[in-house]
Amino acid sequence: MRRGTSIAAGIIWAAVVVVIVAAAAGLTWWLASREHTATAGTASPAPATRPHAASGRDYYLIVRLVEFTPRTPSGRAWDTDGSAPDARVHIDWRGNRVFSLPPRDNALIAAWDLFKISINPQDLLKLKDMNFDPTSAINGPIVTAGPGETVTIEVRDDDPVSYDLALRMTVRLSDLHEGANDIPVPPNSGVRRLRIDLLPRDMPLDELLRRQIEGK
């Protein structure tokens, strides 16, 4: 074989090796990211595959997310100074106000975690000896599902002297699935998106924590 030909063969073989390394790396990266996406997808199953709220069972009802429309239903700005609404969410059940979520100021998208805990950082060192009552830390009321059972969700923009009602809607508990629920909201309301989590009250604490950790 001539010298030039052998050098060309050498270069081709060396290039093939580099290309295979790059291709294998790229393919593995793509497969790993696909697998990651698939795992994330299966973690929150489609609503149709999850059971509806069972009659007679107690549930935590947690409003996880409210997205306001850019302007009020009447077309005005939410606040006179042009700032976003100060979200306030109340939940009524059986004619009683059973829960009010912590306010969220100046937000078009207001979100809440599963747990509401505020601890002074200085108290962190004492945590080891503290008692923890998870029910009191859940960011929502306990309701019982059953025939005709409904909850009323009221979303307001709280202003210093008054408030703008963004949404007031009644949701039938038997229509909700266990887990996350994206509630269709009336088109003429001041809310574009409403997500409610319905979690069985007897759900183990570690499962609740897992949901909190994984941001489900």
């Binding site: 060396a14 295979i20 390394v21 790993a32 909190q212």
Partner: protein
């Protein structure tokens, strides 16, 4: 004459047919062994670099529950690939370690395999494998640097309080396989060089009367 066409087929090769047969087939087997191993090593190296390598599962002992509750991001397990880990190291401004690891775990093994493939092609044409191959022979031991780093990380984490755990994944096995294969290639290339030298010596000998 190259090793790939080493079987005698022309009249001028008839006189030394015994010599050619003795040098050719083992040489070809070795050559294709080197090539197959090189391709396999390249594939396992690529997969080992970006495949999941290890998952760090943080635990903070007695405070674990509270940390998971209050700072969920701190309790979340994190999976790294070899390349992802290096990028993470670079992002945290540990440039020196990051560059050394990048050099010895990504660039150097790739270049080394390319040199071996080059050397095999040169030897197939009965040419010397060159100084680069000698360099690759001598620096082969650095390929274990990553495995050493992973072992040190595991030992370090085992020693931490709070039961933080590390799970190894198949990315490490692929990378280790690539390192082992490259060592085997190095040995095979050495034998290939010897086979080529023997074949050259046999050709230089005067034909038996």
């Amino acid at each position: 004459m190259d090793l790939e066409n080493a079987c005698p087929s022309s009249a001028e090769q008839t006189a030394s047919s015994d010599r050619a047969r003795s040098a050719g087939p083992p040489g070809r087997i070795l050559l294709w062994t080197v090539r197959s191993l090189t391709l396999a090593a390249a594939a396992t190296l690529g997969a080992g670099l970006t495949g999941p390598c290890m998952t760090i599962i943080p635990s903070l002992g007695d405070l674990d529950f509270w940390v998971r509750l209050l700072r969920p991001d701190m309790g979340r397990p994190t999976t790294y690939s070899m390349l992802g880990g290096i990028i993470e190291i670079l992002r945290h401004d540990n440039w020196w370690i990051g560059v050394v690891l990048l050099l010895f775990s990504c660039i150097f093994p790739t270049v080394k395999l390319a040199i071996m493939a080059w050397a095999a092609a040169m030897l197939a044409a009965r040419r010397r494998s060159g100084r680069l191959m000698q360099f690759a022979h001598h620096t082969g031991k650095f390929s274990m640097l990553d495995v050493l780093v992973i072992a040190l990380v595991i030992i370090a984490f085992k020693g931490l309080p709070g039961r933080t755990r590390i799970q190894l994944h198949w990315g490490v096995a692929m990378f280790a396989a690539s390192v082992v294969l490259s060592l085997l290639i190095s040995v095979a290339v050495h034998y290939l060089e010897a086979a080529v030298a023997r074949a050259a010596a046999a050709e230089e000998r005067p034909p038996a009367q």
